[in-house]
């Protein structure tokens, strides 16, 4: 039993423990809070990378919590998808936290900083937990931690908009977790297990005896996870919540939190339910059409927005549609595109929200028409915003192009050119609302508060530069991450 064997539990438990130490640090030595939180996330990130190395060289493995063997104990499943998701979650949240350490001083009262880190670390721990767990009830517990922490980092600003948005999110999120718990109850009733592997073994037999229970569980699961992942008709909470929250919160909520529910749903659909259930129910077709609606409607709503953060929030509704579309077209390339988009969109959207936050920090302007000429006075965030916007549209040499390429390839390969056309159309729509901002930023004269912005601290510039270079790097050399994703989709499709 060496330390390398316990990496999975380290990646989850360390942020959890430090989350509760943060308020103490805040009382004792306020200056230590930020380095401690950054250090913990860095360790978690390195642990995820090390797990990826283990999995790539030695294959997937299971970790038994506290040495209790399944089916009684909780098991962590360290496979390709799990390490990919863990790397995305810890990596992006680490970069956003660097930004948050300065931006929050501006947006929050100083004594709340320690509490913010508590919520933030809880959020990251729960997301890594959801990525790694192989136990459906453990998944539910992490979903709940994530829901409360996510509402917390919205309402911590405690102005009217944040509180209202947070209440709406909390109630709908409770509705979603209710559906999820009911689905778990129905699955447990017919299979007698909570471990994914054991449920998957027992389901074909149970399917014959109690088909209605399983269909009801499937529907509830779809609604529960759909509400939390903001799949189109269930997205009503997202725009307010993501636009009113402090900017670093918006970056993690839009970039990471809605994705982790999508990935969990993917795992349950593909690894727990038997493949023949999708022949008797049109679940994947429903998902496909919902994601199509999300892509089109999300972009349409984004076009009419005047507020920069609200526009980015509606753009997230559209982008989560791409992820679900990749999952719902049962095809190797589409699945690869969907999983890749989880990673790419996490980087792009976190960067866009941080750039928007930088504009608001320095000039106080949230209105899109007020940002004319910002490229002259604030070059770093404006260039980062431009890279992110181009990646959203899917211009070649940016990472957004690669994931759209795989999605289109998958749709064509599966013989559904209509959905390829949807992706192309939505790229046009993305262009309609992103490109004018870039043009205005660089080709107009700065006026008013934009002409004399406050200087941006270095801690807020460096994350933008890192993510901007990341977007270009993974657009030019996608093979850095594709090897892992290929294996993840092969494992999910059972190839």
């Amino acid at each position: 039993m060496n330390a390398a064997h316990h990496l999975p539990v380290l990646a989850i438990v360390l942020p959890l423990v430090f989350a509760y130490l943060m308020p103490l640090f805040d009382r004792w030595r306020r200056g230590w809070c930020t380095p401690a939180a950054l250090g913990v996330l860095a360790v978690s990130f390195v642990a995820s990378l090390a797990m990826a190395w283990q999995v790539m060289t030695g294959g997937p493995y299971y970790y038994q919590m506290g040495n209790w063997p399944p089916p009684w104990g909780i098991e962590l499943n360290i496979d390709y998808l799990a390490v990919f998701t863990a790397i995305t979650m810890t990596g992006v949240s680490l970069v956003v936290l660097v930004y948050a350490s300065k931006d929050l001083l501006h947006e929050l009262k100083p004594h709340l900083l320690g509490w913010y880190y508590t919520l933030y670390l809880l959020l990251v721990a729960s997301m890594v937990g959801m990525a790694l767990t192989n136990d459906i009830f453990n998944l539910f517990v992490f979903v709940e931690i994530c829901a409360i922490a996510a509402c917390g980092i919205i309402s911590i600003k405690s102005n009217k908009e944040c509180l209202e948005a947070s209440f709406k999110y909390l109630i709908l999120s409770t509705l979603g977790s209710g559906c999820l718990l009911l689905a778990i109850a129905l699955l447990y009733m017919v299979t007698g297990h909570l471990n994914f592997t054991y449920i998957a073994q027992a389901l074909p037999e149970a399917m014959r005896l109690y088909p209605y229970n399983i269909l009801a569980a499937l529907a509830l699961l779809l609604v529960g996870m759909g509400v939390k992942a903001a799949l189109f008709p269930l997205h009503v909470w997202l725009p307010d919540a993501h636009s009113s929250a402090p900017s670093p919160s918006s970056a993690v909520l839009s970039g990471l939190v809605i994705k982790i529910y999508a990935v969990s749903l993917l795992r349950v659909l593909y690894q727990v339910f038997p493949a023949d259930i999708f022949e008797v129910t049109p679940v994947l077709n429903i998902l496909l059409w919902m994601s199509t609606l999300a892509i089109i409607a999300g972009s349409m709503f984004a076009i009419v927005q005047e507020d920069i953060k609200k526009m980015l929030a509606y753009s997230s509704v559209a982008q989560i549609g791409y992820v679900f579309m990749g999952f719902a077209i049962v095809d190797f390339f589409a699945l690869t595109g969907g999983i890749l988009h989880v990673f790419n969109h996490a980087m792009m959207k976190a960067m866009l929200f941080m750039a928007a936050g930088a504009f608001i920090y320095s000039t106080g302007v949230r209105h899109l028409s007020g940002l004319k000429g910002i490229g002259h006075t604030m070059p770093v965030p404006a260039v980062a915003f431009a890279i992110g916007a181009l990646a959203m549209v899917g211009i070649p040499l940016t990472n957004g192009f690669i994931s759209k390429w795989y999605l289109v390839l998958g749709a064509l390969h599966d013989g559904q050119p209509f959905f390829a056309a949807v992706i192309l159309l939505s790229s046009l729509l993305n262009g309609i609302y992103y490109l004018p901002i870039i043009v205005n930023a660089f080709f107009s004269e700065p006026q008013g508060r934009v002409a004399a912005p406050l200087p941006l601290p270095r801690q807020m510039q460096v994350p933008l530069i890192i993510l901007g270079l990341g977007c270009l790097l993974f657009g030019i050399a996608p093979s850095l991450i594709l090897g892992l994703i290929y294996r993840a989709s092969e494992a999910l499709l059972g190839l």
Binding site: F137, I171, S177, Y188
Partner: protein, 123 residues
Amino acid sequence: MERLLHNYPYMVAVVLFVLGVYTILSQENLMKKIIGTNIMSSAIFLLFISAGNIAGGSPPIISKGYVPPEGVVLVNPLPAALILTGIVVSFSLTAFALSIVIKLHDYYGTIEADEILKLRSEL
């Protein structure tokens, strides 16, 4: 029909669940929305517990070396343990939601969603 009567706890749970969801979606009062979430969670707890229960079974309290006598059936303890977690979760969500409602009341002086909307549009 006989099956329905035999499974009556499930029927009650389903009715309660739908009632809870309806309350959340239809009521304007924020407190009533919170009560709706609680009705909904209670329905799930009822369903989960009744799934683990065996009529006439004895409680699963055993010590080392204990062999249940002939004809005694022990109730499945796992659903109870899971629901204990579920209750804690539901409790903390309720507490958080209530604290937000208090703050909203401080700002607006009302906890009716439609009145808050009206106050906001007047600003």
